[in-house]
């Protein structure tokens, strides 16, 4: 079976062959991994890779699996899934005109109102997570179309907090760059 996995910033192709009930060989660019494994629990696999044992702890988070080995985390997903999603993302980024929460957080202060004109880099909203405050800034010049949250709201990553209408000339310029 062939796999194309995205790990970190790279995509890596593997060819996997089963070897008995609890083994496989994995080849990648000429190098060969001989793998025996024991499933210890739903989050723990014990592997012996080319003779060296190692514990890997695994959690699924949407498309991604986080693999923890000797205290270090690896985020891995199928490169195809990433490509599909990535293309979608790029498209939406090209017309981005909103400010989204970077992580689960609570809205602390809102520094703009509907209709306000903002310049790129202006502080527009402050969110807090685990006692750390982060100030989000306007990504471009424009005017505030909508404030979608109120102080005290709990917001999840990706939630659109504030919509900004981009000043028209610049928006067109950017569009042409992204083409």
């Amino acid at each position: 079976m062939d796999y194309r996995l995205k790990i970190g910033e790279r995509a890596v192709s593997f060819h996997a062959e089963r070897k008995g009930a609890h083994g496989m060989t994995l080849s990648r660019e000429g190098s060969l991994l001989d793998v025996d494994y024991t499933i210890i629990s739903s989050h723990h696999v014990h592997l012996t890779v080319n003779g060296s044992p190692v514990n890997a702890y695994i959690a699924e988070d949407g498309d991604t699996r986080t693999v923890l080995i000797r205290g270090i985390t690896y985020s891995i997903e199928h490169a195809d899934a990433f490509d599909n999603r990535g293309r979608g993302k790029k498209r939406s980024q090209a017309v981005q005109q909103d400010i989204t929460a970077p992580m689960p957080s609570v809205v602390i202060r809102i520094l703009v109102s509907e209709g306000d004109a903002v310049s790129q880099g202006d502080n527009v909203i402050v969110v807090s997570a685990m006692k750390m405050e982060t100030t989000l800034t306007a990504p471009f010049d424009g005017s505030v179309r909508a404030v979608n949250v109120a102080v005290g709201d709990k917001v999840m990553p990706g939630r659109i907090l504030i919509d900004i209408d981009r000043t028209v000339e610049q928006a067109i310029e950017d569009e042409s760059h992204s083409g």
């Binding site: 996995l5 496989m24 890779v49 695994i58 986080t66 923890l68």
Partner: protein, 495 residues
């Protein structure tokens, strides 16, 4: 001794305080917010009282509700832990007025030491050197700008009521001062219920060395040696150790005497911490007194064999200190690593979430004061501390090795943690040499990323995990199992 104590805190520290209470036969009362209905301190208490919404202002900072909870349950004393109301003199005073014992210093002492500027004046009078800076707190940006110019940039903004790095900002130039002050003040307000800030001269590359003190109501005070707390990120400690690598018997004697002098000059009672900065020449400056149990108190417990919470309870009940200075002996070396829910690859950005899987390190010389469990939803509203991992061994070198292996054994799935950078910090040559300064991470680990040298193994684990899960597709869109795989909805994979 008290029959029942309310712990006005959450997570690992509430659990740790309750551990000692129950060993002393004292019943425990937990308080909790909406987000903490399933928190570990609620599960471990003899009684639990709901305070209110998750926002600290409605729960852990809400004095009325906490006092009510104590009265309603018949608690005789309140242990505030650290953070929240621990250093709030109004709260200590409320307790005193309501006939509840506040397990900490008298409100008057908290007020005088808690106003860091008053504390600085008291200490200056006792002859201990202090860092140049303001002698009163201020909220007017104009006055703050003037003070900053007088002190000279870079300056450090600090919360007058603070501790734990909250409300702290370094400001390099005048144009950044205003927004930094507003942000620091807001953070302080939310963390301590007090927005007051003041400015100090920013000392370059200091070491942060603090002394644990304990004092009773009968005029006795002793110190329990020092802790070195120089490894910090965002002005918050992440690794502490004792003894300090720079300590000599003579310096320890002088600094210990200074710490006890501060305790006596301020009329201190209960456990507290006298913080100093030590410059490269070995001169030390009084920084502030933390009038509470410190996050990092366990390393002192490891080397002294004492239970500081037990001493707090004894002293709060009016009993004399159970030991004199000469009875306090240090053994071995102890290190604490704070395990935060945060992503050290992304500027230590907080990482709340649900703990999917947890394996705590165990074994000789390992202690883990833990505030989470598998399945727990780490709330977004509070400090990102998940647990404190402590290693104790005969020597510093052995304690470092013990800690590194314990960190590698520690399995937390579901949130990002500080564990990978802690491993690299401990393994680094400057740390092993004891060259620890407060700018250690900025200097040696700017834009840190872990060494991901086992990518192939991780990919093998990924593939095995996928193949071994029943109901998951095992080939290009094949196999329609009972559980729909996310890959099935996205398209073919693994061809």
């Amino acid at each position: 001794m008290f029959r029942k104590v309310l712990v006005a805190n959450r997570g690992e520290i509430a659990r740790r305080v309750m551990n000692t209470c129950r060993e002393m036969g004292i019943a425990t009362v937990a308080v909790y917010s909406e987000a903490d209905r399933k928190a570990v301190h609620v599960l471990k208490a003899d009684q639990a009282v709901y305070l209110g919404e998750s926002d600290p202002a409605h729960s852990y900072l809400n004095m009325d509700r906490i006092i009510d909870a104590a009265k309603q349950t018949g608690a005789q004393a309140i242990h505030p832990g650290y953070g929240f109301l621990a250093e709030n003199p109004q709260f200590a005073e409320r307790c005193e007025l309501e006939g509840l014992v506040f397990i900490g210093p008298p409100s008057q002492v908290i007020r005088e030491l808690g106003d860091k500027t008053t504390a600085r004046r008291t200490v200056m009078r006792s002859g201990v050197p202090v860092i140049p800076g303001m002698t009163r707190s201020e909220s007017d940006p104009v006055v703050l700008a003037e003070e900053a110019s007088g002190i000279g940039y870079p300056v450090l903004i600090k919360a007058a009521a603070g501790g734990g790095g909250k409300g702290m900002r370094t400001v390099a130039s005048p144009e950044d001062l205003r927004e930094a002050c507003i942000s620091a003040s807001s953070e302080a307000e939310r963390a301590f219920g007090d927005a007051s800030i003041y400015l100090e001269k920013y000392l370059p590359r200091p070491r942060h060395v603090e002394f644990q003190i304990v004092a009773d109501r009968h005029g006795h005070a002793v110190h329990l040696f020092e802790r070195e707390c120089s490894i910090q990120r965002r002005h918050q400690k992440i690794i502490e150790e004792t003894p300090s690598p720079i300590m000599t018997p003579s310096l320890r004697e002088r600094m210990g005497a200074a710490a006890v002098a501060v305790a006596k000059a301020s009329g201190y009672v209960n456990a507290g911490t006298v913080e100093f900065l030590v410059d490269r020449e070995g001169a030390f400056y009084f920084l502030e007194v933390n009038t509470r149990l410190q996050v990092e108190h366990p390393i002192t417990e490891m080397i002294t064999g004492l239970d500081i919470v037990r001493i707090q309870l004894e002293v709060a009940a009016g009993n004399p200190l159970p030991m004199a200075q000469e009875d306090v002996r240090s053994r071995g070396h102890a290190i604490e690593c704070r395990i935060y829910a945060e992503d050290p690859e992304k500027g230590f950005y907080p990482s709340p979430g649900r703990i999917i899987h947890l394996e705590e390190p165990t074994g000789p010389g390992i202690r883990n004061d833990c505030g989470i469990y598998a399945g727990f939803q780490v709330p977004v509203e509070y400090d990102p501390i998940l647990s404190k991992l402590i290693a104790h061994a005969q020597t510093r070198e052995q304690a470092i090795e013990r800690m590194i292996h314990a960190l590698r054994d520690y399995v937390i799935l579901g949130v990002r943690t500080s564990i990978p950078i802690l491993i690299d910090l401990l393994e680094s040559a400057p740390f092993r040499k004891g060259d620890t300064f407060t700018d250690f991470i900025d200097t040696h680990f700017p834009d840190w990323k872990p060494d991901r040298s086992e990518e192939d193994v991780a990919c093998a684990a990924f593939i095995i995990d996928e193949l071994s899960r029943p109901g998951k597709a095992q080939g290009a869109g094949a196999h329609a199992g009972a559980v729909q795989s996310p890959w099935q909805t996205i398209g073919p994979w693994g061809r």
